[in-house]
């Protein structure tokens, strides 16, 4: 069976849980920006949690199914329609051969995950079906979807009923405004003054229009003041420069000290800008659901808090599994 792409949406890509192991040569993890929503979409249709799905950002695609299928849409509130009839998000529904799946305007969040029983069956490249568009690697021909593409779908391992749903409390979406992103200060934190460090956490930032799978840029806070230094050999003369180094996922670089950029799943693996710290793993999914202009506060936490938050995030998925196992 296959899915015909009638309209591609703004930037729809094939993603799974990513491609670990190649960051040392500049190939990032990739995979769903909101991993919880991706896993939940798969569980709803009876797939393994890491099966390949479609990630649609801001605007949904229009798809035609060449065979009957079980489908679920999670993540952002991007309401699906079947031949024009409204369907519910975070819930499994049947699609009949020849039917068209389209989407209403985005109501909340930023990225929706469209899972189909059997999974999107593009070739596995370096252990993953995820699209890494910058390197033209994986996914469907290494790029976002275009009208006319035909996506192969795998054979469904199990058959599940329609109307299975994930309770609202288990969806793990950003809770309110401003969204709080928890940060462990570190890396090159010592490059900024104490006052700048206080300002970074005190200010309210806003998601800038430059927000994609590589990274999310934020603006609106006070520029960071640097501790004066003699530039080390190889670093470059700007106070925000370092000798090119690795960038952790979630690391917050601030070129020129003005606009922080949080690197995400398609991160550039390294470069020459200093970083003030790293968004904790539990809050990475939330970033994937932020629209431009959303107010955000960075909240300072320590390792213990980060690990507790990680555990809580994992328990949320355990609960989703439990609720769908019955």
């Amino acid at each position: 069976m296959a899915i015909k792409v009638l309209k591609p949406g703004l930037s729809t890509t094939v993603q799974d849980l990513g491609r670990p192991g190649y960051y040392n040569i500049g190939i990032p993890l990739s995979g769903g920006m909101d991993r919880h929503a991706l896993a939940a979409a798969n569980l709803l249709v009876g797939n393994a949690e890491g099966a390949a799905v479609l990630e649609a950002v801001f605007m949904g695609p229009e798809l035609e199914f060449t065979d009957d299928a079980m489908v679920a849409v999670t993540g952002a509130e991007l309401p699906p329609k079947l031949d024009g009839a409204p369907q519910v998000t975070w819930s499994s529904f049947k699609v009949k051969r020849g039917q068209k799946l389209s989407f209403e305007f985005l109501k909340k969040g930023a990225r929706a995950y469209i899972a189909v029983a059997g999974g999107i069956d593009v070739p596995v490249v370096l252990g993953s079906r995820s699209t890494y568009a910058l390197g033209a690697l994986g996914g469907f021909k290494g790029r976002k979807l275009e009208a006319g593409d035909e996506l192969p779908v795998g054979a469904a391992a199990t058959s599940v009923r329609e109307g299975r749903t994930v309770a609202e409390a288990l969806r793990g979406l950003p809770p309110g405004m401003p969204t709080e992103l928890r940060v462990m200060p570190g890396l090159y934190w010592h490059r900024i003054t104490d006052a700048a460090g206080i300002g970074f956490f005190a200010d309210t930032w806003k998601v800038a229009p430059e927000a994609d799978r590589i990274g999310y840029r934020f603006k609106g806070g006070k520029p960071l003041e640097f501790v004066p230094r003699e530039p080390p050999f190889g670093a470059g003369s700007d106070p925000s420069n370092i000798t090119d180094a690795c960038y952790p996922y979630g690391s917050i670089q601030v070129p020129g000290g003005t606009e922080p950029i949080v690197l995400h799943r398609d991160a550039v693996s390294g470069g020459g800008y200093f970083m003030v710290g790293t968004v904790i793993s539990a809050d990475m999914d939330l970033i994937g659901q932020l629209q431009p202009n959303t107010p955000v506060k960075f909240v300072k936490v320590d390792m213990d808090t980060a690990l507790a938050a990680r555990k809580a995030r994992a328990e949320l998925l355990t609960k989703v599994r439990g609720s769908l196992a019955a």
């Binding site: 500049g26 390197g135 890396l187 080390p232 190889g234 090119d244 390792m303």
Partner: protein, 291 residues
């Protein structure tokens, strides 16, 4: 050199061997990351050497962050005592310096450059106090370079020239990054050269272009069939200046599937290199050309 460790959130340990670039710092980073790879520590998922630093990604559900930090600190002090010798490769990369494609691009983005009235090569020659473009190309291509980091994007090598610090070529990045750089451009920023593996944004000065592909996600190119990225940290690169006719011939060879890069296995000793830089580099070049 005292390595500075920091957690990068709950999944990374970042280690800065030195804040300045040097072959000593790079070698230490390479040594420790090789040792970490060989140790096969449970829960470690990514091991990334960089120019003068390195990073280890881990799953904190499988290993406690503090336990991994203790282990890395132990390996870091052990690395101090090891002999700086590596088994590596030397690779010849043909370069058409001053090529028409990077020239077109640098003219298109001239208003973002420090010197709007010249070319990147002319500017780099002047600020490095060299007598014109030809002298600069000679300095760039006469001594070999270490691949001191692979990354930014897939397969892109950062290269550090194997000469004393006072002979290092240095140039700032563009004032504002370009939105376009031709694929396989030879770039330079700070003390690092690079080869752009894919077309895209970039801020490095542009000096030339190589006909030799270094990244092939489709794995069609003969020498990229086993793995899609050519470079590994620790590889040694020697630029070979070529003219337009040789460039066109090489491109035709690549297209016809008969391009054969010159790649030789070689052992490198930092101690012996430091004893006689030019003599050692001359020997390396001998390995490349089989004499």
């Amino acid at each position: 050199m005292q390595t500075r460790f920091s957690f990068g959130g709950d999944e990374h340990i970042f280690a800065e061997v030195d804040d300045a670039m040097s072959l000593e710092a790079f070698f230490k980073s390479l040594f420790i990351t090789n040792a970490v790879r060989e140790a096969k520590i449970k829960g470690v998922t990514e091991i990334c050497p960089a120019n003068a630093s390195y990073q280890v990604k881990f799953d904190p559900d499988l290993i406690k962050p503090d336990d991994l930090l203790t282990e890395l600190k132990r390996m870091d002090s052990a690395a101090e005592k090891s002999e700086p010798v590596i088994a590596t490769r030397i690779i010849e990369i043909p370069v058409l310096y001053n090529d028409p494609w990077t020239h077109e691009t640098l003219m298109r983005f001239r208003e973002r450059h420090q010197d709007p009235n010249g070319t990147d090569l002319e500017y780099a020659a002047r600020i490095n106090h060299l007598d014109g473009v030809d002298s600069f190309i000679e300095a760039h291509s006469s001594a070999p370079w270490f691949v001191s980091m692979v990354g930014f994007v897939a397969g892109l090598p950062f290269l550090y020239q194997m000469v004393e610090r006072q002979r290092q070529l240095q140039a700032p990045k563009y004032l504002r990054p370009r939105t376009d750089t031709p694929k396989l451009t030879i770039g330079h920023g700070g003390c690092f050269s690079c080869i752009y593996s894919v077309r895209g944004a970039g801020g490095y000065q542009m000096f030339g272009i190589t006909p030799m592909p270094i990244y092939d996600p489709n794995q069609q190119i003969s020498y990229l069939r086993d793995f899609m990225c050519l470079f590994k940290p620790g590889d040694i690169v020697k630029w070979k200046p070529i003219d337009r006719a040789a460039y066109d011939a090489a491109v035709a060879d690549v297209d016809a599937g008969r391009f054969a890069p010159i790649i030789r296995d070689v052992s490198f000793s930092l101690t012996e290199f430091n004893r006689d830089v030019d003599g050692y580099n001359h020997k390396l070049e001998g390995v490349l050309h089989g004499h």
